[in-house]
Amino acid sequence: MSTAIAQPVERENYLNTQYGVGSWLLTTDHKRIALLYLASITFFFFIGGFFALLIRLELLTPAGDLVQADTYNKLFTMHGQVMVFFFLIPSIPAVLGNFLVPMMIGAKDLAFPRINLLSWYLYIIAGILMLHCILTGGVDTGWTFYTPFSTEYSNTKVIEAGLAIFISGFSSILTGLNFIVTIHRMRAPGMTWTRLPLFIWAHYATSIIQILGTPVIAITLVLVVAERALHLGIFDPKLGGDPLLFQHLFWFYSHPAVYIMILPSMGVVSEVIACFSRKRIFGYSFVALSSIAIAVFGFLVWAHHMFVAGISVYAALIFSLLSYSVAVPSAVKVFNWTATLYKGSIHYEAPMLYAFGFLGLFTIGGLTGLFLAALGIDVHVTDTYFVVAHFHYIMVGGALMGYLGGMHFWWPKITGKLYPEGWARLAALIVFVGFNLTFFPQFILGYLGMPRRYFDYSHMPEFQVLNVLSTAGATILGIGYLLPMIYFLWSMRYGKPAPDNPWNAAGLEWQTQSPPKTFNFDEEPVVTWEAYNYDEIDKAHPEEVHVVG
């Protein structure tokens, strides 16, 4: 017992029980698989970021000078496909979710550890296929693969990109399936549904979308690939097919996919805000059930992407109304987080800065979503930079801020090392400033009428100022993303060793050692308290409220 307290040089943990490439590539430990995913999605993030950089550089001047139209089309297509399917969709679930879901509910692993490893291999196969596609010419259909352009007219590598995304879809399905079974069947004694951390509720809702939505885009891509390869007429109007059917099937997945990206971030934000306000989350059951509500409503709004595509005006009316209804559970969350902050004892650590960033940016992204759900305004701003700015506020301002906040929050648990707090706060600030400078001008650009996906705007040179601002912001944003990567890597070697619970946070994952042992807990935990019992924690250890800072 005494040796355990005296902090031996390095305790046995999931990182040092085994060494060597084989111990990683054949691991079934959810924590190691999370790290495999972390390395892979970081790689793809920088590839997607590289394309974004080229896009922004091209738009620095009105003339199409850096790249030509064909290249530009490929750049924004591959930026979208890589970022959506190879970074955002797996980001929080496959990294933080993989690491934390079993620990938060007191389990030794996910229900199907080998399927978990399989899902990473599927992701890697899909990733290699995508890389091959990029290196041998790329694809130019837009990330949406709209037919008949993708099946008939595009002369780029549509089939390869389609297959890559098809395979990565199965990786996503298996992750979702694993989470649902784990959350249903692997909870520790006493971990009732109403004691689950909100991170778990968010992942449960995400998993529902993954298992019900992803198969639909999988079969849609099968049809696109079959149509392109065999010249069938399923979506080609020349042969009697219906391109609108493709759009319906595509958005049936791809709209809910946005919630695959944002819901896990909401889970992270719930954890972080409760911890750094030292308060029980306000309206626990509303926050929990609003995740499920978002998942359910999310399936009923897809055709708001098609208001100008020629759907019936009555259908548009109903989809508009249903799209508004998503705002209700989203607002429930934002108001409850705000109410949690009220009279809280707020600490401004880096994860909390990201959570604040999330709150503001998600609110702007969500409210501009209502503009787009309104039929009249949507007709005005469809396919303009307004739409681009809106969904980047959700996907980058929302999802990515949550991801970064979560990475900082759980980094001490994952690696057993503390990151440098000062640098982290600086990086959070840089990301926030850079993000707004990049994307806020795009709202104005779009409202003034600049269309998306144009590489040359020389007939409207008045848009250059706002585009220069946006590019400048993107540069700052890029630095903001490089910084965490540098100091995270630095901290793995030189960081101070992390205590088991550096934030004095609630949650079973903080009761294990940092980094955890392979099977997480020495004994199966028995839960007798509700989530976010910060009152009791701070009463029991008033001196430890603010350990790091």
Binding site: D109, P215, L230, G241
Partner: protein, 237 residues
């Protein structure tokens, strides 16, 4: 508390563990429940996977009903019905297999699994015959596709070959995906047969049989929908 105490406690626990019980489950019941729920959720994803196709099929069938009816008449409903009966029989033998595994009846288990495999192969054989006939008559979508037939009930109206081609495209993709699932199912049942042969499916542990059976039934149900939708359009005329 000391480390040695924990080690002792763990090793006592290990002794009573069924070797089939994986390390991260606390009890066999928990493992069984997890596997079963996992298979049900997987089947849910399959419903959505086929659902996209059914949706496309229904829309085109509404739009191009006459052409679809004409195209469907080239299928042999008797072969389709035989296959339906074959699959229903295979589902029955699967039920027998699950029962036999739960009650430790080895001969019955082996016989039921072998019969299921036989029915599965028979289905694929008949399906192959049907596909061959489609190739011979140039009813496979693509460059050599040709379709000359009148719309049922309208002797003076020729069916639109483009629309008939959509029917055949959907026919091949839907039945092809179904056949692919059958092939996977046959693989699973060969694996189950080997397990049963080695005596590893017992009344205490037969989860693979149970979830393998769920999968087989599901693939059957897909066919139960495919058969009337693809073969029996406008049969009364």
């Amino acid at each position: 508390m000391s480390d040695s105490q924990i080690t002792v406690a763990t090793s006592v626990h290990e002794e009573v563990r069924n070797p089939a019980l994986l390390h991260h489950f606390a009890t066999e019941q928990q493992q069984r429940d997890a596997s079963s729920l996992g298979m049900w959720i997987f089947l849910g994803t399959e419903v959505m996977f086929f659902g996209g196709l059914f949706c496309a099929y229904l829309i085109y069938r509404l739009w191009y009903f006459g052409d679809f009816a004409a195209a469907a008449q080239t299928l042999n409903s008797w072969l389709g019905m035989t296959n339906t009966i074959v699959l229903i029989c295979s589902s029955l033998t699967v039920v027998f297999a699950v029962y036999a595994a739960q009650h430790g009846k080895r001969t019955m288990l082996l016989a039921s699994l072998a019969l299921t495999l036989l029915f599965g192969l028979a289905f694929l054989g008949i399906k192959g015959m049907e596909y061959r006939e489609k190739f011979e008559n140039h009813h496979v979508p693509g460059a050599s596709f040709s379709f000359v037939k009148t719309v049922p009930g309208h002797p003076d109206e020729m069916a639109n070959p483009r629309h008939a081609e959509i029917y055949f495209a959907l026919y091949f993709i839907m039945t092809g995906l179904h056949a692919l699932h059958m092939i996977v199912g046959i693989g699973i049942f060969i694996w189950l047969l080997t397990m049963a042969w080695k005596g590893r499916l017992t009344p205490e542990y037969n989860t693979p049989m149970e979830i393998g059976g769920l999968y087989w039934h599901f693939v059957d149900i897909i066919w139960i929908y495919l058969f009337p939708l693809l073969y029996l359009i406008d049969l009364h005329k």
